[in-house]
């Protein structure tokens, strides 16, 4: 009786080890996020409506980059306003993505993002998202301000 009992315990434990070791030859999927180094615009940057944003960053991934996206939305609610003001100006919103696949690292520099001249002044969030080929995602959030005396975004 006792022998049967201990034997059965040993068999059960061994089958567990066997069952689970089937996954030993696990291929390690990629869980490392890409790295975004956003050089411009800087945190708290004041930008001028009617200009192009000076955008500069480095992207890097250990396997393969996928795509990046820039998204700008107002942060009026962060303060006193709860709703966008109406009138001659329109709150600025921007959402666009670029393909950077087949690369492990890249330097991005462009002036493609245009702030319309009638954009409502105030606080905005400037978001950069980047994915790698596997779907790992990282993002950077910056607070920016749209202001008449802000930088025009052109190189001096």
């Amino acid at each position: 009786m006792k022998t049967t009992f201990y034997l059965s315990i040993v068999i059960i434990l061994m089958s567990f080890v066997l069952l689970v070791s089937c996954s030993d030859d696990e291929k390690q999927g990629d869980t490392t996020k890409p790295v975004i180094t956003l050089n411009a615009p800087a945190e708290g940057a004041a930008l001028q409506p009617g200009s192009h944003i000076h955008f500069d960053m480095d992207l890097e991934d250990d396997v393969m980059l996928g795509s990046y996206k820039v998204e700008i939305h107002n942060n009026f609610d962060g303060h006193t306003h709860t709703k966008a003001e109406t009138g001659e100006t329109t709150p600025f919103a921007y959402n666009n993505s670029w393909d950077v696949s087949d690369k492990k690292s890249t330097h991005i520099h462009h002036h493609e993002i245009e702030i319309p001249a009638n954009a409502t002044e105030g606080n905005y969030h400037f978001m950069v998202y980047c994915t790698d080929a596997a779907g790992n995602e990282s993002y950077v959030a910056r607070n920016i301000v749209l202001r008449e005396d802000g930088e025009s975004g052109e190189h001096q």
Binding site: V20, T82, A93, G135
Partner: protein, 717 residues
């Protein structure tokens, strides 16, 4: 390779299973009664092929925290998924959300359990006894119980006719909590009635850090207290039971209300202006959530000579609201005229019925038959959208047979068929449509995106089954093995959610074509009960052919404030691990307990771990107990969790130290019970991998001193 570490990892903690449960504190404690209760637990365990932890009054008192899951977390294999210091939900062996069921008096608790920041609406003061089933329990409880069940049951009524009651007081230093509960009961002839009212108020909780780093930005933590994490809860319940001969029935009405603030820095983009000191550690400003859970249940039972029939009926109304200062990214969306700051609200009505018939005529054969029906309806409101309105109907029939030829062996096998019908209403967002047009998206994208939820009508049906044995070759040994096939109907969130959840800041999207989740689960448990030493080892392994998880798709969302879309997707998945618990009686009234657990998860499609995998952990407790006093010192080791899913951060481990003491002081004709504890003695900064706040790098609460006073009283008629 890594699995080879499991046996090494499995070294243990204090579990209620091995504890001698002290009987009702209202009665005099005598040795014979302790033996009786231990036998009861042992018997319960012998009668089920699944691993069962019976948690009694003494364990619940010693580890009381005002929060049921944070108490049960002391058991190996059980974790609590926390939302700040106040509310939590259960995770058993790495499975949470809709994969674990909580039942109270036989009725499954139904709230919005799919949400990571939604807690369990149960009054911790009102919990007298809990059974925890680890592993597939869908045969008994239906499709949502594939990961395990937390069963809350009532303690037996006192034998003599009497008026009795209890006053409990709770205080905590970490969040300035004060709480209390009053219970009054009457046992007279055939009637037994209990009334309870509880309330807890807490302030912002303390963390051992001056700043937290969120998205590379340093956010100040004023006074080391996490702003706006205060909250309160208020619960009331009435329970009454009637017995006459072979007939028994009980009725319960309970209401739980919770309100808790959210740390504003965890809502969206880090913005130091939102975490400025608001001058009060006890106020609850926006954002916050409220939830009210009303439950009415009844249990009817009649025992004929050879047949026992039981019927449970229940109605639940779960009303959850999330409030956040009105904000929109769509210029055309007006401020709502009523409740302008109500972001999301869900009202879930659930009707449940469960019938059981047990044939007890033979001592060798035992048959149980069950029929369950449940109907749910979810309605929504608020200025934001996440989950559509839906209705859901499920029904299941089951049969379980146990063959027990002698005292040494019992074999159980059962089969269950469940049928489910889900009807999801569509939802179109006109403000999003205008916004997308204004952004210059193509007509195709606008058409596709403006419909936030499509009408979905789906029928599901599947079998679950299990076969297990319990073998007792000698009195000191107990061996159990169980193999089960379980399935789970996809939830409405998995089929049709579509939006940015402020809790996760991800665009979560359901897939109306998802198949049901199914898998095979194998469990083994071996216990040895010696004179001075007892040990339980419980390994498990599960393989899912279709396991539903949130998969990052690499497709950019068109919604503002969102990165890529996360879509509910099925994958082949593997779970394995186990628990060990041991207790050694040492000389001079000392005893030593060990508890350990480990869970390994693996997504076989993506070759990566699954998210929310609990880290391995180990508890060592040395206690000293004599007559009316008990002291303990505990060391808790939490391993690093580096096995993470995509876009989940690894969590470093920690070493924590806890102290505790319990006293029973005779005052007049009663015993006043005092329980003192000091958790996280060295104010160690550490993270809980399963916490809602983990994502925003907020550490767990710091050092906490806690005092619980219980004053029971009774008067015999």
């Amino acid at each position: 390779m890594r699995i080879g570490m499991i046996p090494g990892m499995l070294v243990v903690c204090c579990t209620g299973t091995l504890h001698a449960q002290e009987p009702d504190s209202l009665r005099n404690v005598s040795l014979s009664e302790i033996v009786v209760t231990e036998n009861y637990q042992y018997l319960r365990n012998r009668n089920t092929t699944l691993h069962l932890d019976v948690v009694g009054k003494e364990f619940l008192k010693e580890h009381f925290s005002g929060n049921l899951m944070q108490t049960l977390e002391q058991l190996p294999g059980v974790h609590s998924m926390d939302i700040g210091s106040g509310f939590s939900k259960p995770v058993i062996r790495g499975m949470g959300f809709n994969r674990v069921s909580v039942t109270e008096n036989g009725i499954k608790q139904e709230g919005q359990q799919w949400g990571a920041d939604h807690g369990l609406e149960i009054d911790a003061f009102n919990v007298e006894q809990v059974n925890i089933r680890k592993g597939p329990a869908s045969l008994l409880y239906g499709s949502d119980a594939m990961g395990g069940v937390v069963e809350i049951t009532q303690a037996a009524p006192p034998f003599d006719d009497q008026v009795f009651g209890e006053v409990s007081l709770l205080g905590k230093s970490v969040n300035g909590l004060f709480g209390g509960s009053v219970m009054l009961g009457v046992k007279k002839d055939r009637w037994f009635t209990k009334l309870r009212f509880s309330e807890q108020h807490f302030g912002d909780y303390r963390i051992p850090a001056d700043t937290i780093v969120y998205l590379t930005q340093k956010m100040p933590v004023h006074d080391r207290r996490l702003k706006n994490t205060a909250g309160f809860e208020r619960n009331a319940s009435l329970f009454t039971q009637y017995r006459k001969g072979a007939y028994m029935s009980d009725y319960m009405v309970s209401n739980a209300y919770q309100k808790v603030g959210f740390f504003p820095g965890a809502h969206g983009i880090p913005d130091p202006s939102r975490v400025e000191d608001d001058g009060s550690a006890r106020n609850m400003g926006l954002p916050y959530s409220t939830v009210n859970h009303l439950k009415v249940t009844t249990h009817q039972e009649y025992a004929w000579e050879n047949i026992l029939a039981q019927w449970d009926l229940g109605y639940q109304n779960n009303h959850r609201e999330e409030w956040s200062l009105f904000h929109t990214h769509y210029g055309s969306q007006p401020v709502p005229e009523t409740d302008p700051d109500k972001e999301l609200a869900f009202v879930l009505n659930t009707f449940s019925s469960g019938m059981k018939v047990r044939f007890t005529g033979s001592s060798v054969w035992d048959h149980r038959m069950g029929w369950d029906v449940q109907y749910q309806r979810n309605t929504i409101s608020g200025y934001s959208f996440l989950l559509p309105e839906y209705s859901r109907f499920t029904t299941g029939i089951s049969w379980l047979t146990t063959w027990k030829p002698d005292e040494m062996l019992s074999v159980s096998g059962g089969l269950r068929y469940d049928f489910g019908k889900t009807d999801i209403r569509s939802f179109t967002d006109p403000y999003l449509e205008t916004y997308l047009r204004g952004q210059g998206y193509s007509e195709e994208v606008v058409e596709k995106s403006k419909t936030r939820s499509f009408p979905v009508k789906r029928d599901f049906g599947d079998f679950s089954g299990s076969l297990g044995i319990v073998w007792v070759p000698a009195k000191a040994h107990l061996l159990k093995a169980n193999v089960g096939h379980s399935f789970r109907l996809p939830g409405a969130n998995e089929l049709a959610s579509n939006g940015v959840h402020h809790g996760t800041f991800r665009h979560e999207q359901g897939d109306p074509d998802l198949g049901s989740e199914r898998g095979w689960q194998l469990d083994v448990a071996y216990s040895f009960f010696g004179t001075f030493f007892s040990v339980t080892v419980s390994p498990f392994a599960s393989w899912f052919s279709n396991y539903i998880y949130l998969k990052p798709t690499g497709e950019w969302s068109v919604l503002p404030h969102a990165g890529q879309i996360y879509r509910y997707t099925g994958a082949e998945a593997l779970f394995a691990g186990g628990e060990i618990s041991a207790k050694v009686d040492l000389p001079l009234h000392f005893s030593y307990e060990l508890g350990g657990e480990y869970v390994y998860t693996y997504n076989l499609d993506e070759h990566i771990p699954l998210s929310f995998s609990p880290p391995g952990s180990l508890r060592n407790t040395l206690s000293w107990e004599k007559k009316r006093m008990r002291f303990y010192v505990e060391h808790q080791y939490i391993a690093d969790q580096n096995r993470v899913a995509r876009n989940e951060d690894p969590t470093p481990g920690a070493q924590l130290f806890h102290l505790g003491a319990g006293f029973r002081i005779p005052v007049g004709r009663t015993d006043v019970e005092l329980t003192l504890s000091a958790r996280n003695l060295f104010n160690t900064k550490y993270y809980n991998h399963l916490s809602f706040y983990r994502k925003v790098e907020i550490p767990e609460p710091g050092r906490n001193f806690q005092l619980l006073i219980k004053i029971p009283f009774k008067k015999l008629f």
